[in-house]
Protein backbone atom coordinates (compact mmCIF):
# COMPACT_ATOMS: atom_id res chain seq x y z
CA UNK A 1 0.00 0.00 0.00
CA UNK A 2 1.61 3.24 -1.07
CA UNK A 3 0.90 6.68 0.32
CA UNK A 4 -1.48 8.83 -1.68
CA UNK A 5 0.29 11.13 -4.14
CA UNK A 6 -0.52 14.80 -4.53
CA UNK A 7 0.35 17.75 -6.73
CA UNK A 8 0.70 20.74 -4.44
CA UNK A 9 1.59 24.39 -4.96
CA UNK A 10 3.98 24.87 -2.08
CA UNK A 11 4.99 28.31 -0.87
CA UNK A 12 8.67 28.98 -0.15
CA UNK A 13 8.91 30.37 3.38
CA UNK A 14 12.68 30.48 3.64
CA UNK A 15 15.69 30.18 1.35
CA UNK A 16 19.07 29.57 2.94
CA UNK A 17 22.26 29.36 0.88
CA UNK A 18 24.60 26.75 2.36
CA UNK A 19 27.93 27.78 0.87
CA UNK A 20 27.84 28.53 -2.83
CA UNK A 21 26.79 25.08 -4.02
CA UNK A 22 23.71 24.27 -1.95
CA UNK A 23 20.38 25.91 -1.18
CA UNK A 24 17.94 24.84 1.50
CA UNK A 25 14.33 25.62 0.62
CA UNK A 26 11.82 25.49 3.44
CA UNK A 27 8.29 25.33 2.06
CA UNK A 28 4.76 25.10 3.34
CA UNK A 29 1.34 24.24 2.06
CA UNK A 30 -0.62 27.36 2.94
CA UNK A 31 -3.96 25.72 2.13
CA UNK A 32 -3.86 22.32 3.82
CA UNK A 33 -1.86 20.04 6.08
CA UNK A 34 0.99 18.36 4.18
CA UNK A 35 0.23 14.72 3.38
CA UNK A 36 1.99 11.84 5.16
CA UNK A 37 5.47 11.12 3.79
CA UNK A 38 8.15 8.59 4.66
CA UNK A 39 11.90 9.10 5.00
CA UNK A 40 13.65 8.22 1.75
CA UNK A 41 10.70 9.26 -0.40
CA UNK A 42 11.13 12.12 -2.83
CA UNK A 43 9.26 14.86 -4.65
CA UNK A 44 9.23 15.80 -8.32
CA UNK A 45 9.65 19.56 -8.36
CA UNK A 46 8.48 21.55 -11.36
CA UNK A 47 11.09 23.94 -12.68
CA UNK A 48 9.60 27.18 -13.91
CA UNK A 49 11.49 29.86 -15.76
CA UNK A 50 14.43 27.87 -17.13
CA UNK A 51 14.65 27.60 -20.91
CA UNK A 52 16.92 24.56 -20.85
CA UNK A 53 14.83 22.65 -18.32
CA UNK A 54 11.80 20.69 -19.40
CA UNK A 55 11.29 17.91 -16.87
CA UNK A 56 10.58 18.02 -13.16
CA UNK A 57 13.54 17.43 -10.83
CA UNK A 58 13.48 14.55 -8.35
CA UNK A 59 14.58 15.90 -4.96
CA UNK A 60 14.64 13.97 -1.68
CA UNK A 61 12.53 14.99 1.22
CA UNK A 62 15.04 16.53 3.62
CA UNK A 63 12.73 17.13 6.55
CA UNK A 64 9.05 17.38 7.37
CA UNK A 65 7.77 19.29 10.38
CA UNK A 66 4.10 18.59 10.98
CA UNK A 67 3.86 21.33 13.66
CA UNK A 68 4.94 24.15 11.36
CA UNK A 69 3.57 22.30 8.30
CA UNK A 70 6.94 22.63 6.60
CA UNK A 71 8.77 20.47 4.09
CA UNK A 72 12.44 21.08 3.37
CA UNK A 73 14.38 20.41 0.19
CA UNK A 74 18.16 20.53 0.04
CA UNK A 75 19.19 21.44 -3.48
CA UNK A 76 22.67 20.95 -4.88
CA UNK A 77 23.27 23.49 -7.65
CA UNK A 78 24.45 21.31 -10.52
CA UNK A 79 22.73 22.09 -13.81
CA UNK A 80 20.17 24.51 -15.16
CA UNK A 81 17.25 22.81 -13.39
CA UNK A 82 18.70 22.76 -9.90
CA UNK A 83 20.05 26.30 -10.36
CA UNK A 84 16.58 27.53 -11.29
CA UNK A 85 15.17 25.87 -8.17
CA UNK A 86 17.97 27.45 -6.15
CA UNK A 87 16.92 30.90 -7.38
CA UNK A 88 13.50 30.60 -5.76
CA UNK A 89 12.85 33.09 -3.01
CA UNK A 90 10.62 33.55 -0.02
CA UNK A 91 7.02 33.86 -1.19
CA UNK A 92 7.59 32.02 -4.49
CA UNK A 93 5.47 29.06 -5.51
CA UNK A 94 7.03 25.62 -5.92
CA UNK A 95 4.85 23.01 -7.60
CA UNK A 96 5.60 19.58 -6.13
CA UNK A 97 4.42 16.08 -6.96
CA UNK A 98 4.79 14.00 -3.81
CA UNK A 99 5.40 11.74 -1.99
CA UNK A 100 7.05 9.37 -4.49
CA UNK A 101 8.97 6.12 -4.16
CA UNK A 102 9.22 3.64 -1.34
CA UNK A 103 11.39 5.05 1.48
CA UNK A 104 13.83 3.41 3.91
CA UNK A 105 12.88 0.56 6.21
CA UNK A 106 12.41 1.95 9.69
CA UNK A 107 13.74 0.10 12.74
CA UNK A 108 11.03 -1.98 14.36
CA UNK A 109 12.31 -1.77 17.93
CA UNK A 110 14.31 0.70 20.02
CA UNK A 111 16.93 -1.97 20.72
CA UNK A 112 17.97 -2.00 17.05
CA UNK A 113 21.12 0.00 16.38
CA UNK A 114 20.66 1.77 13.10
CA UNK A 115 23.44 3.62 11.25
CA UNK A 116 22.43 6.36 8.82
CA UNK A 117 25.15 7.17 6.30
CA UNK A 118 25.06 10.21 4.04
CA UNK A 119 27.54 11.61 1.56
CA UNK A 120 27.43 15.05 -0.03
CA UNK A 121 23.86 16.14 -0.76
CA UNK A 122 22.88 12.52 -0.03
CA UNK A 123 22.78 13.45 3.63
CA UNK A 124 19.43 15.13 2.90
CA UNK A 125 16.99 12.23 3.49
CA UNK A 126 18.93 11.08 6.58
CA UNK A 127 17.83 14.13 8.54
CA UNK A 128 14.14 13.28 8.15
CA UNK A 129 14.84 9.63 8.84
CA UNK A 130 16.81 10.39 11.99
CA UNK A 131 14.15 12.83 13.16
CA UNK A 132 11.44 10.19 12.69
CA UNK A 133 13.51 7.68 14.65
CA UNK A 134 13.96 10.24 17.43
CA UNK A 135 10.19 10.71 17.53
CA UNK A 136 9.89 6.94 17.99
CA UNK A 137 12.19 7.20 21.03
CA UNK A 138 15.37 6.01 19.34
CA UNK A 139 18.72 7.72 19.09
CA UNK A 140 20.02 7.48 15.54
CA UNK A 141 23.73 7.38 14.69
CA UNK A 142 24.74 9.48 11.69
CA UNK A 143 27.90 9.00 9.70
CA UNK A 144 28.26 11.93 7.32
CA UNK A 145 30.90 12.40 4.68
CA UNK A 146 31.94 15.36 2.55
CA UNK A 147 34.91 16.51 0.55
CA UNK A 148 35.66 19.42 2.86
CA UNK A 149 34.33 20.98 6.07
CA UNK A 150 32.51 23.65 4.02
CA UNK A 151 30.56 20.97 2.21
CA UNK A 152 29.20 19.35 5.35
CA UNK A 153 25.54 20.28 5.44
CA UNK A 154 23.09 20.87 8.29
CA UNK A 155 25.43 19.51 10.97
CA UNK A 156 23.62 21.38 13.77
CA UNK A 157 20.31 19.86 12.65
CA UNK A 158 21.77 16.37 12.73
CA UNK A 159 23.31 16.92 16.16
CA UNK A 160 19.91 17.94 17.47
CA UNK A 161 18.46 14.47 16.74
CA UNK A 162 21.32 12.00 17.12
CA UNK A 163 25.00 11.15 17.45
CA UNK A 164 27.02 12.53 14.57
CA UNK A 165 30.29 11.19 13.19
CA UNK A 166 32.00 12.94 10.32
CA UNK A 167 34.64 12.27 7.69
CA UNK A 168 36.11 14.74 5.22
CA UNK A 169 38.42 13.85 2.37
CA UNK A 170 40.87 16.62 3.32
CA UNK A 171 40.61 16.11 7.07
CA UNK A 172 39.23 19.62 7.66
CA UNK A 173 36.52 18.16 9.91
CA UNK A 174 36.08 14.83 11.68
CA UNK A 175 38.24 11.91 10.60
CA UNK A 176 40.17 12.22 7.36
CA UNK A 177 39.11 9.91 4.53
CA UNK A 178 35.91 8.26 3.33
CA UNK A 179 32.94 7.22 5.46
CA UNK A 180 33.93 3.57 5.08
CA UNK A 181 37.22 4.35 6.87
CA UNK A 182 35.61 5.89 9.96
CA UNK A 183 36.56 4.21 13.24
CA UNK A 184 32.92 4.06 14.38
CA UNK A 185 32.42 1.15 12.00
CA UNK A 186 34.99 -0.84 14.00
CA UNK A 187 34.02 0.42 17.46
CA UNK A 188 30.27 -0.16 17.34
CA UNK A 189 28.04 -2.93 16.11
CA UNK A 190 25.05 -1.98 13.95
CA UNK A 191 21.95 -3.98 13.11
CA UNK A 192 21.15 -2.09 9.94
CA UNK A 193 22.70 0.54 7.67
CA UNK A 194 20.85 3.05 5.47
CA UNK A 195 22.88 4.96 2.89
CA UNK A 196 22.38 7.82 0.49
CA UNK A 197 25.19 9.48 -1.42
CA UNK A 198 27.33 9.27 -4.55
CA UNK A 199 27.30 5.85 -6.14
CA UNK A 200 30.98 4.94 -5.40
CA UNK A 201 30.36 5.74 -1.74
CA UNK A 202 27.19 3.66 -1.56
CA UNK A 203 28.96 0.75 -3.23
CA UNK A 204 31.81 1.00 -0.72
CA UNK A 205 29.41 1.07 2.24
CA UNK A 206 27.47 -1.83 0.73
CA UNK A 207 30.71 -3.83 0.54
CA UNK A 208 31.42 -3.19 4.22
CA UNK A 209 27.85 -4.12 5.15
CA UNK A 210 28.07 -7.31 3.15
CA UNK A 211 31.39 -8.29 4.78
CA UNK A 212 29.98 -7.71 8.24
CA UNK A 213 26.66 -9.33 7.39
CA UNK A 214 24.66 -6.20 8.22
CA UNK A 215 21.38 -5.57 6.32
CA UNK A 216 21.85 -2.48 4.19
CA UNK A 217 19.65 -0.22 2.08
CA UNK A 218 20.84 2.35 -0.45
CA UNK A 219 19.00 5.16 -2.19
CA UNK A 220 19.63 5.45 -5.94
CA UNK A 221 19.28 8.60 -7.99
CA UNK A 222 18.96 7.47 -11.60
CA UNK A 223 17.80 10.11 -14.06
CA UNK A 224 14.02 10.28 -14.14
CA UNK A 225 11.30 11.70 -16.32
CA UNK A 226 7.86 10.95 -14.84
CA UNK A 227 8.54 9.74 -11.28
CA UNK A 228 5.41 7.58 -11.43
CA UNK A 229 6.57 4.37 -13.10
CA UNK A 230 5.10 5.26 -16.47
CA UNK A 231 8.04 6.18 -18.71
CA UNK A 232 10.46 3.41 -17.64
CA UNK A 233 13.47 5.71 -18.07
CA UNK A 234 15.05 5.43 -14.61
CA UNK A 235 15.47 1.66 -14.55
CA UNK A 236 18.09 -0.17 -12.50
CA UNK A 237 19.18 -3.74 -13.12
CA UNK A 238 18.12 -5.90 -10.19
CA UNK A 239 17.74 -9.58 -9.46
CA UNK A 240 14.15 -9.13 -10.73
CA UNK A 241 15.33 -7.53 -14.00
CA UNK A 242 15.03 -3.86 -14.95
CA UNK A 243 12.85 -2.02 -12.44
CA UNK A 244 11.88 1.64 -12.08
CA UNK A 245 13.87 3.45 -9.41
CA UNK A 246 11.00 5.92 -9.00
CA UNK A 247 8.45 3.30 -7.91
CA UNK A 248 10.38 0.17 -6.84
CA UNK A 249 13.01 2.46 -5.26
CA UNK A 250 14.67 4.84 -4.80
CA UNK A 251 15.60 2.72 -1.78
CA UNK A 252 16.82 -0.80 -2.49
CA UNK A 253 18.09 -3.59 -0.28
CA UNK A 254 21.63 -4.20 -1.55
CA UNK A 255 20.67 -7.87 -2.00
CA UNK A 256 18.32 -6.84 -4.81
CA UNK A 257 20.96 -4.96 -6.79
CA UNK A 258 23.33 -6.48 -9.31
CA UNK A 259 26.14 -4.04 -8.51
CA UNK A 260 29.81 -5.05 -8.80
Amino acid sequence: MSLKKHVIDLKVVSRVALGDRFVLLKCTDSVAQLPPMMPGQFAQLRVDGSKETFLRRPISINYVDTKTNQIWFLIQLVGSGSRALGRLNEGDTLNALLPLGNGFSMPVSASQKHLLVGGGVGTAPMLYMGAQMALMGMRPTFLLGARTKDMLLQIEEFERVGDVYVTTEDGSAGEKGFVTQHSILQKQKFDRISVCGPSPMMKAVARVAREKGIPCEVSLENMMACGLGACLCCVEKTVKGNVCVCTEGPVFDIKELTWE
Partner: protein, 302 residues
Amino acid sequence: MANLTTNIGALEMKNPVMTASGTFGYGIEFSDLVDLSGIGGIIVKGTTFYPRQGNDYPRMAETPSGMLNCVGLQNKGVRYFCESIYPKIRKIDTQMVVNVSGSSPEDYARCAECIADLEDIHAIELNISCPNVHDGGMAFGVTTEGAAGVVRAVRKAYAKTLIVKLSPNVTDIVSIAKAVEAEGADAVSLINTLMGTAIDIEKRRRMLSIGTGGLSGPCVKPVALRMVYQVAHGVKIPVIGLGGIASAKDAIEFIMAGASAVEIGTANFIDPAISVKVARGIDEWLDAHKVASVRDIIGVAE
Protein backbone atom coordinates in the same frame (compact mmCIF):
# COMPACT_ATOMS: atom_id res chain seq x y z
CA MET B 1 -21.11 22.34 -22.37
CA ALA B 2 -20.31 21.43 -25.96
CA ASN B 3 -20.59 17.94 -27.41
CA LEU B 4 -17.09 16.48 -27.03
CA THR B 5 -17.85 12.96 -28.24
CA THR B 6 -15.87 11.66 -31.15
CA ASN B 7 -15.23 8.31 -32.74
CA ILE B 8 -12.32 6.48 -34.26
CA GLY B 9 -13.94 3.91 -36.50
CA ALA B 10 -16.29 1.98 -34.23
CA LEU B 11 -14.56 3.26 -31.11
CA GLU B 12 -16.82 5.77 -29.35
CA MET B 13 -15.11 8.23 -27.04
CA LYS B 14 -16.60 10.70 -24.56
CA ASN B 15 -14.01 13.27 -25.54
CA PRO B 16 -11.14 13.49 -28.05
CA VAL B 17 -8.27 13.45 -25.55
CA MET B 18 -6.32 10.23 -25.11
CA THR B 19 -3.05 9.53 -23.32
CA ALA B 20 -0.19 8.24 -25.45
CA SER B 21 1.41 4.85 -25.00
CA GLY B 22 4.41 4.74 -22.70
CA THR B 23 3.61 8.04 -21.01
CA PHE B 24 0.71 7.10 -18.75
CA GLY B 25 1.50 3.53 -17.66
CA TYR B 26 -1.73 1.55 -17.36
CA GLY B 27 -3.59 4.59 -16.06
CA ILE B 28 -3.72 3.25 -12.50
CA GLU B 29 -0.29 4.77 -11.72
CA PHE B 30 -1.96 8.18 -12.13
CA SER B 31 -5.24 7.49 -10.35
CA ASP B 32 -4.27 9.48 -7.22
CA LEU B 33 -3.63 12.53 -9.36
CA VAL B 34 -6.30 12.64 -12.04
CA ASP B 35 -9.88 11.47 -12.53
CA LEU B 36 -9.31 8.80 -15.18
CA SER B 37 -12.96 8.91 -16.24
CA GLY B 38 -12.38 12.44 -17.53
CA ILE B 39 -10.03 11.12 -20.21
CA GLY B 40 -11.34 10.06 -23.63
CA GLY B 41 -9.04 7.06 -23.89
CA ILE B 42 -5.94 5.59 -22.31
CA ILE B 43 -3.43 3.85 -24.57
CA VAL B 44 -1.42 1.57 -22.35
CA LYS B 45 2.26 0.89 -22.71
CA GLY B 46 3.69 -1.11 -25.62
CA THR B 47 2.94 -4.80 -25.28
CA THR B 48 4.75 -7.63 -27.07
CA PHE B 49 4.02 -11.35 -27.29
CA TYR B 50 7.10 -12.30 -25.26
CA PRO B 51 8.40 -10.27 -22.29
CA ARG B 52 11.15 -7.76 -23.09
CA GLN B 53 13.81 -6.27 -20.80
CA GLY B 54 14.20 -3.12 -22.89
CA ASN B 55 17.48 -1.27 -23.37
CA ASP B 56 20.13 -0.53 -20.77
CA TYR B 57 20.18 2.61 -18.64
CA PRO B 58 20.61 5.52 -19.44
CA ARG B 59 17.42 5.63 -21.45
CA MET B 60 16.63 9.32 -21.27
CA ALA B 61 18.21 12.66 -22.09
CA GLU B 62 16.47 15.96 -21.50
CA THR B 63 16.46 18.54 -24.28
CA PRO B 64 15.16 22.12 -24.33
CA SER B 65 11.36 21.70 -24.60
CA GLY B 66 11.46 17.95 -24.75
CA MET B 67 13.29 14.72 -24.14
CA LEU B 68 14.90 11.77 -25.89
CA ASN B 69 14.16 8.23 -24.77
CA CYS B 70 15.37 4.78 -25.74
CA VAL B 71 13.31 2.60 -23.42
CA GLY B 72 13.02 -0.16 -25.99
CA LEU B 73 9.59 -1.62 -25.29
CA GLN B 74 10.23 -3.01 -21.81
CA ASN B 75 7.15 -5.01 -20.83
CA LYS B 76 6.19 -8.30 -19.26
CA GLY B 77 4.51 -9.72 -22.34
CA VAL B 78 0.91 -10.09 -23.45
CA ARG B 79 0.15 -13.06 -21.23
CA TYR B 80 1.10 -11.10 -18.13
CA PHE B 81 -0.97 -8.20 -19.42
CA CYS B 82 -4.06 -10.36 -19.91
CA GLU B 83 -3.75 -12.19 -16.60
CA SER B 84 -2.42 -9.54 -14.23
CA ILE B 85 -3.04 -6.07 -15.64
CA TYR B 86 -6.30 -6.36 -17.56
CA PRO B 87 -8.40 -7.37 -14.51
CA LYS B 88 -7.22 -4.18 -12.74
CA ILE B 89 -7.94 -1.79 -15.61
CA ARG B 90 -10.93 -3.24 -17.44
CA LYS B 91 -13.49 -1.28 -15.44
CA ILE B 92 -11.81 2.12 -15.71
CA ASP B 93 -14.50 4.39 -17.13
CA THR B 94 -12.74 5.31 -20.37
CA GLN B 95 -11.65 3.56 -23.57
CA MET B 96 -8.66 1.38 -22.71
CA VAL B 97 -6.55 0.77 -25.82
CA VAL B 98 -3.55 -1.56 -25.97
CA ASN B 99 -0.45 -0.58 -27.90
CA VAL B 100 0.94 -3.66 -29.63
CA SER B 101 4.46 -4.22 -30.92
CA GLY B 102 6.43 -7.14 -32.29
CA SER B 103 9.42 -8.34 -34.24
CA SER B 104 7.59 -9.94 -37.18
CA PRO B 105 4.11 -9.65 -38.71
CA GLU B 106 3.22 -13.01 -37.11
CA ASP B 107 4.45 -11.75 -33.76
CA TYR B 108 2.19 -8.69 -33.97
CA ALA B 109 -0.73 -10.87 -35.07
CA ARG B 110 -0.54 -13.37 -32.22
CA CYS B 111 -0.21 -10.55 -29.67
CA ALA B 112 -3.29 -8.86 -31.20
CA GLU B 113 -5.14 -12.17 -31.16
CA CYS B 114 -4.64 -12.51 -27.39
CA ILE B 115 -6.02 -9.00 -26.85
CA ALA B 116 -8.97 -9.61 -29.17
CA ASP B 117 -10.38 -11.95 -26.52
CA LEU B 118 -10.54 -9.20 -23.86
CA GLU B 119 -14.12 -7.96 -23.88
CA ASP B 120 -13.47 -4.54 -22.33
CA ILE B 121 -10.70 -3.62 -24.79
CA HIS B 122 -12.23 -2.32 -28.00
CA ALA B 123 -9.16 -1.19 -29.89
CA ILE B 124 -5.46 -1.71 -30.35
CA GLU B 125 -2.81 0.67 -31.59
CA LEU B 126 -0.10 -1.01 -33.67
CA ASN B 127 3.32 0.39 -33.00
CA ILE B 128 5.17 0.09 -36.28
CA SER B 129 7.25 3.11 -35.43
CA CYS B 130 9.35 2.49 -32.31
CA PRO B 131 12.81 3.89 -33.09
CA ASN B 132 14.45 2.11 -30.16
CA VAL B 133 14.41 -1.57 -31.01
CA HIS B 134 16.52 -3.28 -33.63
CA ASP B 135 14.34 -6.26 -34.38
CA GLY B 136 11.16 -4.69 -35.66
CA GLY B 137 9.31 -1.60 -34.52
CA MET B 138 10.27 1.20 -36.84
CA ALA B 139 11.74 -1.25 -39.36
CA PHE B 140 8.14 -1.99 -40.42
CA GLY B 141 6.97 1.58 -40.33
CA VAL B 142 9.47 3.10 -42.73
CA THR B 143 8.46 1.28 -45.91
CA THR B 144 5.02 0.92 -47.45
CA GLU B 145 5.57 -2.83 -47.93
CA GLY B 146 6.68 -3.35 -44.31
CA ALA B 147 3.77 -1.35 -42.91
CA ALA B 148 1.26 -3.07 -45.18
CA GLY B 149 2.61 -6.51 -44.24
CA VAL B 150 2.12 -6.01 -40.52
CA VAL B 151 -1.37 -4.55 -40.93
CA ARG B 152 -2.38 -7.39 -43.28
CA ALA B 153 -1.31 -10.01 -40.72
CA VAL B 154 -2.98 -8.25 -37.79
CA ARG B 155 -6.19 -7.43 -39.66
CA LYS B 156 -6.84 -11.16 -40.09
CA ALA B 157 -6.40 -11.74 -36.36
CA TYR B 158 -8.16 -8.66 -34.98
CA ALA B 159 -11.68 -7.60 -35.90
CA LYS B 160 -12.13 -4.64 -33.53
CA THR B 161 -10.81 -1.10 -34.08
CA LEU B 162 -7.29 -1.19 -35.44
CA ILE B 163 -5.23 1.99 -35.14
CA VAL B 164 -1.77 2.12 -36.72
CA LYS B 165 0.82 4.44 -35.17
CA LEU B 166 3.08 5.96 -37.81
CA SER B 167 6.72 6.92 -37.74
CA PRO B 168 7.76 10.46 -38.70
CA ASN B 169 11.21 9.14 -39.62
CA VAL B 170 10.23 8.67 -43.27
CA THR B 171 10.41 10.63 -46.51
CA ASP B 172 6.70 10.43 -47.31
CA ILE B 173 4.40 9.68 -44.39
CA VAL B 174 1.27 10.00 -46.55
CA SER B 175 2.27 7.00 -48.68
CA ILE B 176 2.70 4.88 -45.52
CA ALA B 177 -0.70 6.03 -44.25
CA LYS B 178 -2.30 5.11 -47.57
CA ALA B 179 -0.62 1.69 -47.51
CA VAL B 180 -2.05 0.81 -44.09
CA GLU B 181 -5.45 2.23 -45.04
CA ALA B 182 -5.47 -0.08 -48.07
CA GLU B 183 -4.87 -3.08 -45.77
CA GLY B 184 -7.93 -2.27 -43.69
CA ALA B 185 -6.60 -0.15 -40.82
CA ASP B 186 -9.47 1.73 -39.13
CA ALA B 187 -7.36 4.75 -38.20
CA VAL B 188 -3.83 6.07 -38.05
CA SER B 189 -2.16 7.87 -35.16
CA LEU B 190 0.85 10.11 -35.65
CA ILE B 191 3.53 10.99 -34.89
CA ASN B 192 5.71 8.60 -32.92
CA THR B 193 9.01 10.09 -31.76
CA LEU B 194 11.60 11.64 -34.05
CA MET B 195 14.98 9.94 -33.98
CA GLY B 196 17.70 12.05 -32.39
CA THR B 197 20.74 11.97 -30.17
CA ALA B 198 22.50 13.98 -27.44
CA ILE B 199 26.17 14.21 -26.46
CA ASP B 200 27.74 14.73 -23.04
CA ILE B 201 30.66 17.00 -23.91
CA GLU B 202 32.55 16.31 -20.65
CA LYS B 203 32.43 12.55 -21.15
CA ARG B 204 32.75 12.95 -24.93
CA ARG B 205 30.13 10.34 -25.56
CA ARG B 206 26.50 9.99 -26.56
CA MET B 207 24.19 10.11 -23.57
CA LEU B 208 21.80 7.26 -24.39
CA SER B 209 22.78 3.62 -23.93
CA ILE B 210 22.05 2.71 -27.54
CA GLY B 211 23.33 6.00 -28.93
CA THR B 212 20.05 7.29 -30.30
CA GLY B 213 16.55 7.85 -28.98
CA GLY B 214 13.13 9.20 -29.85
CA LEU B 215 12.50 12.92 -29.40
CA SER B 216 9.19 14.02 -27.90
CA GLY B 217 7.72 17.07 -26.21
CA PRO B 218 6.67 20.55 -27.32
CA CYS B 219 9.74 20.81 -29.60
CA VAL B 220 8.24 18.30 -32.07
CA LYS B 221 4.80 19.90 -32.31
CA PRO B 222 5.19 21.88 -35.56
CA VAL B 223 6.55 18.81 -37.37
CA ALA B 224 3.76 16.62 -36.00
CA LEU B 225 1.09 19.17 -36.89
CA ARG B 226 2.34 19.42 -40.47
CA MET B 227 2.31 15.63 -40.85
CA VAL B 228 -1.16 15.29 -39.34
CA TYR B 229 -2.44 17.91 -41.79
CA GLN B 230 -0.87 16.10 -44.74
CA VAL B 231 -2.08 12.64 -43.71
CA ALA B 232 -5.59 13.85 -42.87
CA HIS B 233 -5.81 15.26 -46.38
CA GLY B 234 -4.42 12.07 -47.90
CA VAL B 235 -6.53 9.30 -46.33
CA LYS B 236 -10.24 8.75 -45.64
CA ILE B 237 -9.86 6.93 -42.31
CA PRO B 238 -9.78 8.94 -39.06
CA VAL B 239 -6.49 10.40 -37.88
CA ILE B 240 -5.36 10.69 -34.27
CA GLY B 241 -2.88 13.52 -33.79
CA LEU B 242 -0.04 13.60 -31.30
CA GLY B 243 3.33 15.19 -30.86
CA GLY B 244 4.09 17.79 -28.21
CA ILE B 245 0.52 18.58 -27.18
CA ALA B 246 0.55 20.36 -23.83
CA SER B 247 -2.55 22.58 -23.88
CA ALA B 248 -6.11 22.81 -25.21
CA LYS B 249 -4.84 25.24 -27.83
CA ASP B 250 -2.32 22.68 -29.07
CA ALA B 251 -5.03 20.02 -29.20
CA ILE B 252 -7.41 22.27 -31.14
CA GLU B 253 -4.67 22.98 -33.67
CA PHE B 254 -4.34 19.23 -34.33
CA ILE B 255 -8.11 18.84 -34.57
CA MET B 256 -8.35 21.73 -37.02
CA ALA B 257 -5.51 20.10 -38.99
CA GLY B 258 -7.77 17.08 -39.40
CA ALA B 259 -7.40 14.93 -36.29
CA SER B 260 -10.56 13.28 -34.93
CA ALA B 261 -8.82 12.80 -31.60
CA VAL B 262 -5.50 13.62 -30.01
CA GLU B 263 -3.03 11.88 -27.73
CA ILE B 264 -1.08 13.56 -24.97
CA GLY B 265 2.31 12.08 -24.23
CA THR B 266 5.32 13.71 -22.66
CA ALA B 267 3.23 16.49 -21.09
CA ASN B 268 1.88 13.88 -18.64
CA PHE B 269 5.32 13.88 -17.01
CA ILE B 270 5.10 17.56 -16.15
CA ASP B 271 1.41 17.66 -15.21
CA PRO B 272 -0.19 14.27 -14.48
CA ALA B 273 -3.67 15.83 -14.85
CA ILE B 274 -2.98 17.57 -18.17
CA SER B 275 -5.25 15.29 -20.24
CA VAL B 276 -8.35 16.20 -18.25
CA LYS B 277 -7.38 19.88 -18.30
CA VAL B 278 -7.01 19.76 -22.09
CA ALA B 279 -10.42 18.11 -22.49
CA ARG B 280 -11.97 20.81 -20.29
CA GLY B 281 -10.12 23.52 -22.21
CA ILE B 282 -11.44 22.26 -25.55
CA ASP B 283 -14.95 22.36 -24.12
CA GLU B 284 -14.48 25.94 -22.91
CA TRP B 285 -13.10 27.03 -26.28
CA LEU B 286 -16.05 25.48 -28.12
CA ASP B 287 -18.50 27.17 -25.78
CA ALA B 288 -16.75 30.51 -26.09
CA HIS B 289 -16.90 30.24 -29.88
CA LYS B 290 -20.46 28.93 -29.89
CA VAL B 291 -19.50 25.69 -31.60
CA ALA B 292 -21.90 22.89 -30.69
CA SER B 293 -19.64 19.91 -31.23
CA VAL B 294 -15.94 19.17 -31.47
CA ARG B 295 -16.75 17.31 -34.71
CA ASP B 296 -17.57 20.68 -36.26
CA ILE B 297 -13.94 21.79 -36.15
CA ILE B 298 -12.22 18.62 -37.37
CA GLY B 299 -10.13 19.56 -40.40
CA VAL B 300 -11.46 23.11 -40.73
CA ALA B 301 -8.00 24.66 -41.10
CA GLU B 302 -7.44 25.71 -44.67
